[in-house]
């Protein structure tokens, strides 16, 4: 064998293991496609936290109600960007809306997204904020006055009867919104779950796993934001609210962990021919991101911490409780990201031959590089800052938010 041939062969062999089909060597879906389900999950989770206030009358969560909705909006606006970045040619993106193919789940995403944005999130925000818009418009001048006035859509009636109607309609929208939030994110799970050629993805539990992990990540995000923003605003944290979020977070996490464990038990017991490669994948290539980050740091550690805040409520200081909440919310956020990574990247690391693996080497720069993913993750937070400035979620009085 010529020396060059040997060298290139050796290089290629470091990159892959076992018997692998040539078209499985490089991954089609990169880190930006990891970011995409992560962001939509945060949207759905944040919305579900808000709906607990509206529909299930969880009064304790009221301090985070508007913040949850604004967070959902900020992340929802960014949600399609990873797709645009990945596909390229953003100037053609309207085409999928103009000539949608009814049997293509990817084509229908545009409509699921538009429905969720316009028929659910914006409407609910509008019903909740309309009164504030009217009052803020009266009290401000110039551009802001115009902005708030346009946002009222010309409905300036703030009589108790009109406000009551807003309330009622808002609740109605939320009731529609909960299944819509499930649809939005269950749909992302459906896209993966319906890939029957890929045993790591193709399970009917996939949409359910996605929905529960979405709830977990969204609630954790709100807990994190609430703690950080309270610190920045120098206002005391409402412990009742924090505990309520903590309780829901714990329940969602328990459910999520249970469903994912069920998935594994099912796979292990079924022991299909793909099991061997999946076990090798989880214990080899994904050992760090699956066992260490997703399971240990992202699930077991926060379960213990959140459990401790419940069990030892009286015995540990408020300070410690807050730190426990902060740390566990962060760990959960990291853990759910790892879960998305394990699904998206993990599902492409093994060959369809079920006999070999390839490697994913993340690029630093470029359209699908690490920097792009970081930018896509920072963008919703910047948007949220803007939204919070203009639509101050805590200001229900008549003075408009100061945006200077």
């Amino acid at each position: 064998m010529p020396p060059e041939l040997r060298e290139s062969l050796l290089e290629a062999l470091q990159h892959v293991q076992g018997y692998i089909y040539p078209n499985d060597v490089s991954l089609g879906w990169s880190v930006v496609i990891v970011v995409y389900p992560y962001i939509t999950g945060l949207v759905a989770g944040a919305f579900i936290l808000a709906s607990l206030v509206r529909v299930f009358h969880v009064k304790a969560l009221e301090p985070t109600y508007r913040l949850s909705l604004l967070t959902a909006l900020a992340f929802l606006i960014v949600a399609p960007l990873p797709l645009l970045v990945h596909l390229g040619h953003p100037e053609r993106c309207y085409e999928v809306m103009m000539t949608p193919h009814a049997t293509s789940p990817m084509a229908i995403f545009g409509f699921v997204y538009a429905w969720y944005l316009m028929a659910v999130l914006l409407l609910e925000l509008w019903f909740d904020y309309r009164r504030s818009f009217v009052e803020w418009a009266k009290a401000s001048a110039g551009f802001k006055r115009l902005l708030y006035r346009v946002l009222t859509l010309g409905v300036e009636d703030v009589s108790p009867a009109a406000i009551q109607l807003d309330e009622k309609l808002g609740r109605f929208i939320t009731v529609i919104g909960i299944p819509s939030a499930f649809l939005l994110h269950g749909y992302v799970g459906f896209i993966f779950g319906s890939v029957k050629a890929n045993p790591w993805w193709g399970t009917v539990l996939m949409p359910i796993i996605f929905i529960f992990s979405a709830m977990v990540s969204g609630i954790a995000l709100l807990m994190f934001l609430y703690l950080v923003i309270s610190r920045l605003r120098r206002v005391p944290v409402d412990m009742g609210c924090l505990r309520a979020i903590g309780t829901f977070l714990l329940s969602a996490l328990v459910l999520d962990a249970a469903v994912e464990t069920l998935d594994w038990i099912h796979r292990l017991y079924e022991a299909e021919e793909s099991l061997e490669v999946l076990v090798l994948l989880a214990s080899g290539k994904l050992f760090f991101s699956f066992f260490l980050v997703q399971v240990l740091l992202g699930t077991i550690a926060p379960l213990a911490m959140l459990g401790a805040t419940q069990v030892f409520k009286e015995r540990i200081s408020l300070r410690l409780q807050k730190s426990l909440y902060l740390v566990s919310s962060l760990l959960i956020l990291i853990g759910v990201f790892a879960m998305r990574w394990n699904v998206v990247i993990g599902g492409q690391l093994f060959s369809k031959s079920l006999r070999g693996f390839t490697t994913y080497k993340i690029a630093l720069v470029g359209q699908e590089g690490l920097l792009m993913a970081v930018v896509l993750m920072i963008l919703p937070f910047l948007l949220l800052i803007g939204l919070v400035k203009f639509f101050d979620p805590w200001n229900t009085r008549e003075t408009p938010p100061a945006t200077t």
Partner: protein
């Protein structure tokens, strides 16, 4: 009807109307004629300006180059595989002639690559005189001969 509802209904109708209006403009005319694509797709492609003239066209005026090429190991290549599209120049020689843009463009075909047939002549770019242009030693039209231009000829003549 309370104003909230009427306003929203108007707004919704407006958005739906804008969507269908936009479809009227943005859906290509022949879309769906035969299936889920533009019926005119082939015609549209056929109507694109021609950019390649083909080897026979080049050979009409550049006999010498064509003959030389036909004798060497690059005989199977089209002129424009290296020179780039030249229909405009073939139409009117006053138009700028297509020239291979990069001194090391040869590597596009000759860089060592495991997926190429083992018999295909390949070099490791990093080991094969990386600091020199390929054409300093290989006459492009007859690559196993040294270039005639003495100024370009390097200390290492090619064999044969």
């Amino acid at each position: 009807m309370p104003p909230q509802i009427t306003r929203l209904v108007y707004l919704t109708l407006a958005i739906v109307a804008v969507y269908f209006l936009a479809r009227g403009f943005l859906v290509p005319a022949s879309f769906g004629q035969y299936g889920w694509y533009r019926g005119n797709a082939l015609k549209e492609i056929a109507a694109l300006p021609i950019r390649y003239a083909g080897r026979a066209a080049c050979a009409e005026c550049h006999e010498e180059a064509a003959e030389r090429l036909a004798k060497g190991s690059h005989q199977g290549l089209s002129c424009e595989a290296c020179h780039g599209p030249g229909a405009a120049h073939a139409e009117d020689p006053a138009e700028a002639a297509p020239k291979p843009e990069n001194s090391r463009f040869c590597l596009r075909c000759h860089e060592f690559n495991l997926s190429r047939p083992a018999k295909f002549p390949q070099v490791e770019a990093d080991d094969h005189f990386p600091d020199q242009k390929c054409a300093e030693c290989h006459a492009p039209h007859s690559p196993m001969q040294a270039p005639e231009d003495a100024s370009k000829r390097n200390a290492k003549p090619v064999k044969k």
